[in-house]
Symmetry: C2
């Protein structure tokens, strides 16, 4: 099995690969892991020794098949636990991320199989992210970042990119949740800010907010 730190690095690299394509820079990894580049180099070299990533000095890192499998397994556990925390223990969606970061490292196949069944095989976590299946397959739905949409377009919120408490609470305060219908009423090209319609209300939102909302059109 893999250490907690190894799993966290692999998960981090996986997430970075989703957004940027091509090899991931050491600095990007260090930044996301809240650590120093030297520490990241260290770990990347260990992961490379174990053939979980392929790495060329100064050229960046990519996950191998094996590394991606580990990352996806951890992500599956994280998201299933999030569902448990929200559905069964009545946590708010902004409270679960931190706890799930611990629970995702519990080692037991059987536990996850049973948890999945107990939760009735959920497809998405409370933030709208798809839950990988046992074999690591991830249901990829086509979704747009709200910031890329234009005036007059609409769709429903199917996911959030950020999962920080501050951001989720911002959404809660405005009654914006997964499943909410959102329409772009106006878009300012200078700063990318928008006016959006949510139910019967209208909100001004900055580009930064819009970049963190995934919409299915």
């Amino acid at each position: 099995m893999y250490t907690r730190a190894e799993e966290n690095y692999l998960k981090c690299i996986f997430h970075l690969e989703q957004e940027h394509k091509g090899a991931i820079s050491t600095n990007a990894i260090a930044q996301m892991m809240n650590t120093k580049a030297s520490s990241a180099t260290d770990m990347i070299q260990r992961l490379a020794d174990k053939e979980l990533v392929s790495y060329r000095r100064y050229k960046g890192t990519t996950l191998t098949k094996a590394g991606a499998a580990v990352a996806v397994a951890v992500i599956r556990k994280h998201r299933l636990w999030e569902v448990f925390l929200v559905e069964k223990l009545n946590f708010q969606w902004d409270e679960v991320h931190v706890i799930a970061e611990q629970l995702e490292h519990i080692q037991s196949e059987e536990l996850i199989t049973r948890l999945d069944k107990f939760l009735d095989h959920p497809d998405y976590d409370p933030h709208g992210d798809p839950i990988p299946d046992k074999d690591g397959n991830i249901k990829r739905t086509e979704k747009k970042v709200l910031s890329e949409m234009n005036k007059g377009q609409h769709g429903i919120l199917v996911g959030v990119r950020e999962t920080s408490g501050e951001f989720l609470q911002y959404l809660d305060k405005r009654n914006i949740a997964i499943g909410t219908k959102i329409k772009v009423l106006g878009k300012e090209f200078f700063d990318g800010s928008m006016i959006i319609q949510v139910k019967r209300e209208q909100f001004f939102i900055s580009k930064k907010i819009a970049e963190n909302l995934y919409i299915q059109v």
Copy 2:
């Protein structure tokens, strides 16, 4: 907060203090922790620095108030998770100990508060051990070790000392579970073995088995 290793040592010392009274020897701790005496000494000294145990070289170790509080909190978490695994995920009672040993280290007050409520504030875990309350109070019921009982006496099984899979499966095979009525039909003074009545069956059991069954008379 405390490290996983620190929590495990404290828990270990707590359990040893329940059985033997007086200061706990370094060897006893090392043995229970499956480690070397030198490693135990090391950790004990660290725990002493943090005032979680009181320790005098060569004389043994006892928990301080603070140390006992940490131990009890971990035990509370362990036992609540065991209830969850058996009651909600339908694990067998012999499968849960290992998983709970991981879950007991998850750090979140709120999680445990909610888990406790979700499980409807259970008083005992699947092995019959009492679950400490939020403030660390443990319901102590008077119970006897079966091996100390004599011919003709009877009572019901309220707990087991061992929680290894092998032992619990041994009991399962004979339909002995928490709540089962047990009567001592005979006792051999030479080796402490017994013949017991369980429901309509009779079993021969060794002293070692009898020492691991707690009976309420």
